[in-house]
């Protein structure tokens, strides 16, 4: 874990409120694993006060790439930061998706939930069979398709709710068929809470290892503030930042 003074090397708008950032952060880049996240100080002032959590899209030391959606104050400030700007960046934080060499794994990404799974695919697609199920509301939410095409994925399944890209409908509609035909041994998911809750229901009866990366309001990102609590199936709270963000899907009490 490093509190690094990084530098923005490139910022690119990918249309409709999605941005790609290339950040010089050698210590973090060296240690980052798929599933880890960082906390960014989006402004050098105390407004907004808290850092913002973001997944790591890929890491090629000395750089990491972030991919974010503009939501509110923090991400609006972040999109306007320029190449050359200093960026305080804390990471890598949290746990990672497990490495399951030799296994056939289905990656399930909803919208910006692609971030940690992109990283996973980037690192491991060449050595093991990976499938990707990727969905969003429309083509605007599925901006990384070209980069994903360049990866040696076994198969890609694309869904959009408005039908503007891939099959029409929520990605959960494709799940049953893919699992039946491809027989993956594990699934790894990241996306909106409703999507993860639906997956938890659908995957419960299947004998797979299922993992999900969660989001939560984060005050610190390194386990001290207790703001990121999520209720687990055992009735106790877990800290998303320190116990996660990746959890066995069954460990969480759905819906959150």
């Amino acid at each position: 874990m490093h509190d690094e003074s990084g530098r923005i090397e490139e910022t690119r708008c990918l249309g409709e409120n999605y941005y790609l950032l290339k950040v010089f952060a050698p210590q973090i880049a060296r240690e980052a694993k798929p599933g880890n996240f960082v906390m960014l100080r989006v402004s050098p002032t105390w407004e907004p006060l808290l850092r913002r959590p973001f997944g790591i899209l890929q890491s090629q030391p000395p750089h990491i790439w972030l991919y974010f959606q503009v939501k509110g104050r923090g991400t609006t400030l972040l999109k306007d930061r320029q190449a050359g700007d200093r960026l305080d960046i804390l990471g890598p934080l949290g746990n990672a998706f497990p490495e399951l060499p030799d296994q056939k794994i289905l990656l399930i990404a909803g919208g910006r939930g692609i971030v940690p799974l992109f990283h996973y695919a980037k690192n491991y697609a060449a050595r093991q069979p990976l499938l990707l199920l990727y969905g969003g509301r429309g083509a605007a939410d599925l901006k990384l398709l070209a980069e994903l095409d360049a990866m040696p994925l076994l198969e890609k399944y694309i869904f959009s709710e408005d039908g503007s890209c891939g099959e029409k409908g929520p990605l959960t509609e494709g799940l049953e068929k893919i699992v039946r035909e491809q027989r993956p041994q594990a699934t790894m998911a990241c996306g909106p809470e409703a999507m993860l809750a639906a997956l938890a229901g659908m995957l419960r009866a299947k004998k797979l290892d299922n993992y999900a990366s969660l989001e939560a309001v984060m005050g610190c990102g390194f386990g001290v503030c207790h703001s990121c609590a999520v209720a687990a199936a055992d009735g106790r709270y877990r800290k998303v930042c320190a116990d996660g963000p990746v959890f066995p899907l069954e460990e969480i009490q759905w819906p959150i």
Partner: protein
């Protein structure tokens, strides 16, 4: 180089900077960011007799330059914390302060007794001011009679120095401060968080399950500074000031109005190595003001 040490009467600290309870975990979480030996002392997250799950999420809400929290003191119980303290004291010589909590007076006294008996613990801070436990934010520090009774009971039971942490939500904080002093408090610390409310317009409901929450961060600094100033003028025992400190200048301001030392809270979340920066700034600032030691400015606000 200026002398940064401060005198709390019952002990000297090498500098006035103390990370505040609930914002510094159990110390060990900050080892990746700083040498714990550089800070004056450190306060652990508040502790009850038994482990607590904490309040249901959401637990945080950001406000302009501030933070509302309703954590509800999630964490382990007193037995587990003793092991944590033994580990921590093996890694740092910085004095360890335990932030003692309780659902009722008996629990405060019991928890205080447990940690007062530990040689690794330098002093106790009695958290009679947490707004996130009872509905409506009620706490003993809102009432001078309750404060007197509780502090007396705890103090009779222990031989360790006792800091009493006050609430900015008391109708008359000076009266509460005096009551704590009369009951035997060795020092006071203030302020805990200000009661605040956040609402969700769409749901027409409070954001927090507990309705009210505690406000901290730069937003509260002028409010907290005023209360520290008022209390310092009216008590004899040392006062540890806090609320919104983010810089070396802020530290000096609190000392100018009469504080003997300060605590830094929310800034530890935004900047885990904040203490290191603030300490360096404090030295520079003292040089600029040609101060050889902090006593030269302590309580010297001319009004």
């Amino acid at each position: 180089m200026a002398d940064l040490s401060v005198d709390l009467g019952f002990c000297r600290l090498k500098n006035p900077l103390i990370p505040a309870s609930g914002t510094f975990g159990y110390g060990e979480e900050f080892v990746p960011f700083m040498d714990l030996d550089i800070i004056g002392a450190l306060v652990l997250k508040g502790i009850y007799r038994n482990a607590r799950p904490g309040n249901p999420p959401p637990r945080l809400f950001e406000t302009p330059a501030g933070l509302l929290n309703s954590i509800g003191l999630a964490g382990p119980g007193a037995d587990e914390l003793q092991g944590v303290i033994r580990r921590l004291s093996a890694t740092t010589r910085t004095p360890i302060i335990v932030n003692v909590c309780g659902q009722d007076d008996a629990e405060f006294a019991e928890v205080a007794g447990i940690f007062a008996a530990m040689p690794e613990v330098a002093m106790l801070e009695l958290n009679i001011s947490c707004p996130n436990i009872k509905r409506g934010g009620a706490c003993p520090a809102q009432d001078e009679k309750h404060t007197y009774r509780l502090v007396k009971r705890v103090k009779e039971n222990i031989a360790k120095p006792l800091i009493v942490k006050l609430s900015p939500n008391a109708a008359d904080i000076v009266a509460v401060a005096r009551a704590a002093q009369e009951a035997g408090a060795d020092a006071l610390s203030l302020v805990n968080t200000f009661l605040g409310l956040a609402v969700d317009l769409e749901k027409r409901r409070p954001v927090f399950a507990n309705t009210l929450a505690g406000l901290s961060g730069p937003a509260i600094k002028p409010l907290a500074l005023r209360l520290v100033w008022e209390v310092c003028r009216q008590v004899r025992i040392p006062v540890i000031g806090m609320g919104g400190i983010t810089s070396g200048k802020d530290v000096l301001e609190y000392i100018l109005v009469g504080a003997s030392a300060v605590q830094i809270g929310t800034v530890n979340f935004c900047e885990p190595a904040a203490a290191v920066r603030i300490l360096a700034e404090l030295e520079k600032e003292m040089e600029k003001l040609r101060l050889n030691n902090l006593n030269e400015i302590k309580g010297k606000l001319a009004v």
